[in-house]
């Protein structure tokens, strides 16, 4: 049974500003979910705080709207406790690359099978348009009293440097293209990151739809091949992707920057240590029998015999 995109719409009124790029992201998610026929019960959309943070409420799957910057560790707990769930993270640029960047990098180190959708609008939307970590120095969007004094981070380069195994960029106004990226990211087994260029029509009068229209081009239109099929291609493809990530002013590439198909996911690593992990993960284990612990006095002493001394 394939669920239609509209079946993923929740009853909540979408209270983003009319024309906000977030609508494009939401639409792409509905479509991607539909084409993958994700089960709402087995899907969890996790978000941080910001305009982007409201996303889960607009989607009819499980939704966990967490704290500013903390979507990733919440998602990690959910996924590791029940790896059968599909877990997707929506966050803002302030959220994921400012206050939450420590978790962003740690996820790269772990390669947990999570998908991150970064709403990059170069501003803090919900707090009224301050500079976010992706706003270039010297720019002065509407709400700033003076031009931005801090440099921007390069989200793609950071993701590459921290170990993400699927890295892409999409544009919220190119819904079908973005949908495909989201599908690929979800299907990828490991930490997947999509930077989405998302015009904030209320506060960002620089990176407007016209701005992006002129600049955005699809990497897949050339002979770009970002996929690592063998381990020894890694370094080369990663360096190419890094070089590509520096292209950002005149022309802005979208599409997949890098995908490592050889990497081992964190869940598989745990499974190596705990062979029952995948079929019987934390969330599914029985911990009691008729209201009693499954460990009784005898098993206790067997398990912890190292701590018990028989008195002479």
């Amino acid at each position: 049974m394939v669920r239609k995109p509209v079946e993923y719409q929740s009853d909540v009124w979408v209270d983003w500003c009319p024309g906000c790029g977030d609508f494009g992201i939401l639409a792409s998610m509905y479509r991607a979910f539909s084409e993958l026929d994700l089960s709402p019960e087995k899907t969890v959309v996790v978000s941080g705080i910001g305009c982007s943070g409201k996303t889960p409420h607009f989607i009819k799957t499980n939704g966990v709207h967490t704290l500013h910057g903390r979507a990733i560790p919440f998602a990690m707990g959910i996924k590791l406790a029940n790896p059968e769930l599909t877990v997707i993270i929506n966050g803002g640029d302030g959220d994921l690359l400012g206050i939450g960047i420590g978790h962003f990098i740690a996820l790269g180190r772990r390669n947990i099978d999570l998908t991150i959708i970064l709403h990059n609008n170069t501003v803090y939307g919900l707090t009224k348009g301050q500079a976010s970590p992706t706003l270039k120095r010297g720019l002065k969007p509407k709400s700033l009293p003076k031009p931005n004094i801090q440099d921007a981070v390069n989200p793609i380069a950071l993701a590459l440097s921290s170990g993400y195994t699927f890295i892409a960029r999409g544009y919220s106004m190119m819904v079908d293209h973005l949908k495909e990226l989201i599908k690929k990211a979800i299907q990828h087994k490991g930490a997947a990151f999509i930077e989405v260029l998302q015009p904030c029509i209320t506060y960002d009068n620089i990176h407007t739809v016209e701005y992006y229209k002129k600049r955005v081009y699809k990497m897949e239109d050339s002979d770009w091949n970002p996929i690592v099929e063998k381990i020894d291609e890694r370094e080369d493809k990663m360096l190419k992707a890094l070089a590509k990530s520096m292209e950002y002013d005149e022309k802005i590439p979208i599409g997949v920057f890098y995908q490592d198909k050889c990497a081992v996911s964190f869940e598989e690593r745990i499974h190596e240590r705990i062979p029952t992990y995948l079929e019987n993960p934390p969330a599914k284990q029985k911990i009691e029998q008729d209201g009693r612990p499954i460990i009784d006095n005898i098993t206790f002493k067997k398990i912890f015999n190292q701590y018990i001394v028989e008195v002479e």
């Binding site: 909540v12 409420h57 560790p73 919440f74 959910i78 029940n82 206790f300 912890f304």
Partner: protein, 635 residues
């Protein structure tokens, strides 16, 4: 002897911990009760550390006390640091080699102590050397010095086992085991047993240690006899468990069904997580009995966040930390409260504020845990007084968390975490696993925050339904909702859970009174104070002072009625708070809960535990009129 206090000391990293553990196993094997506290600096190698033990042939001791009857040291810093703690007539085991050492040749010793000792040495005419100090204490305090040439021993053994002396030197700490075991007259085969328990199939280690221990044992016994022979134990336990507070909590969590633990390394909590990790695969007789995923996160913020995430899927989840870590968890705690997520935070208090005394103990975070995080939400705060309590509480913490769908903070402290005790193994037959109103199957539209019930039935992420969560005020489905009437209802629903918990959890489980009923002096305490307070009360009784001890175990919901009733039975000037902090925090909690002011206090905040001797004396001082006694004993 029936009861004995000893100290063994040496530089951090010199094997002291292993020695103490082997001694403890040997004593347990012989049926004695042991409680030992480990004191050490925030340092990896070189600073002074020591283990302070109470050993009893009559009961499982619950306290530490001074003076001690025996000090055994690996180095001169031990002698300098602890000679004053020796009872007149006590025994000092030391290395003859260090006799010429002086305070000035002890760079690892802190200046403050050096200064104080220098003054004293001057006063007593000691020239600063170990030798002159030993002469002084044997003359004046009738201490019996037992000097052993440690390097001679090592050389002798080195020959026996055909290992270069430089390598054999790593067994030096076993000299102390040999000496102490000999003086106490511990059965040699029980020491061997302990070595085997400790080193398993590392036969060489067992053998080498045994040789050195036996050698020193015999030597000491030959020269001095079993000077401090322990009476045969009167305890009749067939088995004893030997565990630190960290160990006990780890075991309890596993029994209690913990399935996800995330943590960021911090003293004195991390050892608990390491132990759980070493039991990540639970196997009994080769059969799978479950598993625990233990994750070292990038920080404590991630630790609590991922714990919450795991709890949302239905796994029993917890995180363990101490002050600095908890300070970072405060925002996450509020989210869990707002979203009615059952998580357990195991909180080992250490010396604060800030980094404080990171390897020392305190009970200074109680009020913080009661009010941590912005806004109002229910939380359960329970504090355990000893190893056994801690075991049952750690399991109950999960039950309460799930029953009331709210975070539970389980307060412990460094004293408990690092003190090793011989225990009667817990009885699991009476333990209940209560998962609260947990739905395994949902029919129809699901409302996670169904307002028709104060405690809404809980389905988990991954069940056959969907749900939403948000840190914002939310409606029944978990969607953001700013409506004032919804707000009022949801807010009240959450807060009411605490009232229900207060009604349901019997007050007798939230406070204990130790006394026969005719007491007129009341000590009030919590946490690690329990052991020493009970012992003190008993001692005072023998001195004709009828004192009882009120042990507060749960601070939220607070057992107001019982505490108030009890307090009202005593004269104001005979109620004394006893705590390891400055403010007497539990008395503030008492006052803010029941309005009764506890005017007298005995506090200690040096990072060292309260000792029985000083507590007894302090109570007497309070009864003579002092309002506040600040304890300082212990190096």
């Amino acid at each position: 002897m029936y009861e004995l206090s000893i100290i063994i000391g040496g530089p951090q990293g010199s094997g002291l911990e292993t020695s103490a553990s082997i001694l403890t196993y040997s004593l347990a094997r012989s049926g004695y009760g042991v409680l030992s506290d480990r004191e050490y600096f925030s340092n990896i190698k070189g600073r002074h550390s020591y283990v302070h033990l109470t050993i009893s042939s009559e009961k499982i001791p619950t306290f530490l006390t001074y003076p001690v009857q025996l000090v055994a040291g690996l180095d001169h810093e031990t002698i300098f640091t602890h000679f004053e703690s020796l009872e007149d007539g006590g025994v000092l085991v030391y290395d003859l080699y260090i006799e010429e050492k002086t305070l000035d040749t002890t760079p690892s010793m802190e200046e403050d102590l050096k200064k104080r000792l220098n003054l004293k040495f001057k006063k007593f005419g000691i020239d600063g050397s170990v030798k002159s100090l030993i002469k002084y204490i044997s003359d004046v305090k009738k201490i019996k010095p037992i000097g052993i040439n440690y390097s001679d021993v090592i050389n002798e053994v080195s020959k026996k086992i055909a290992l270069p002396a430089s390598q054999a030197a790593r067994y030096t700490s076993s000299i102390v085991i040999g000496a102490v075991a000999g003086l106490l007259n511990i059965n040699k085969s029980n020491i061997e047993y302990s070595l085997i328990r400790r080193f398993g199939d590392r036969r060489e280690l067992i053998q080498h240690n045994k040789i050195i221990i036996d050698l020193v044992y015999d030597k000491v016994v030959e020269e001095h006899g079993p000077l401090m022979k322990l009476e045969r134990s009167k305890l009749d336990h067939r088995e004893l468990m030997i565990a630190s507070g960290n160990d006990v909590i780890a075991m309890a969590k596993i029994v209690g069904g913990l399935r996800y633990q995330s943590y960021y390394p911090i003293t004195p909590a991390a050892d608990e997580s390491f132990m759980i990790e070493s039991y990540e695969k639970l196997e009994v007789d080769g059969k799978d009995a479950g598993s625990v995923v233990v994750i070292q996160t990038e920080d404590e913020i991630a630790a609590i966040a991922s714990t919450i995430g795991a709890a949302l899927t239905g796994a029993r989840a917890s995180t363990s930390t101490s002050g600095p870590g908890f300070s970072l968890m405060v925002e996450g705690l509020g989210w869990a409260g707002m979203n009615e997520v059952p998580i357990v935070i195991t909180y080992y208090q250490r010396g604060g504020p800030s980094t404080g005394l990171p390897t020392r103990g305190s009970q200074s975070d109680l009020l913080f845990t009661l009010y941590a995080s912005h806004g109002e939400f229910p939380r359960i705060v329970l504090a355990s007084g000893d190893h056994t309590e801690a075991f049952y509480d750690a399991i109950e913490a999960f039950n309460l968390a799930e029953r009331y769908q709210t975070p539970v903070i389980h307060l412990l402290d460094k004293f408990l975490a690092n003190s090793i005790k011989t225990l009667v193994p817990p009885d699991l037959s009476s333990i209940v696993i209560d998962r609260g109103d947990l739905l395994s199957n949902v029919s129809g539209e699901y409302r996670r925050f169904d307002i028709s019930k104060t405690i809404s039935p809980r389905a988990v992420l991954g069940a056959n339904t969907i749900m939403w969560y948000t840190g914002d005020e939310h409606d029944e489905f978990g969607h953001i909702d700013e409506d004032p009437e919804n707000r009022e209802q949801m807010y009240r629903k959450r807060m009411e859970k605490l009232r229900i918990a207060d009604e349901e959890i019997p007050e007798e489980k939230r406070m204990y009174y130790y006394g026969v009923g005719d007491e007129d002096v009341l000590l009030v305490g919590w946490g690690f104070v329990k052991g020493v307070a009970i012992e003190t009360v008993n001692t005072l009784y023998t001195k004709g002072i009828r004192a009882g001890y009120l042990h507060i175990k749960m601070f939220s919901p607070f057992p107001s009625k019982s505490v108030k009733n009890l307090l009202n039975r005593f004269e104001e000037k005979k109620i004394i708070a006893v705590e390891h902090n400055y403010l007497a925090q539990s008395s503030i909690a008492v006052r803010s809960s029941v309005g009764v002011e506890i005017k007298k206090s005995i506090v200690k905040y040096t990072g060292r535990p309260i000792y029985k001797n000083e507590l007894v004396e302090a109570v007497l001082r309070v009864l003579e009129g002092e309002d506040r006694v600040v304890l300082r004993y212990g190096p």
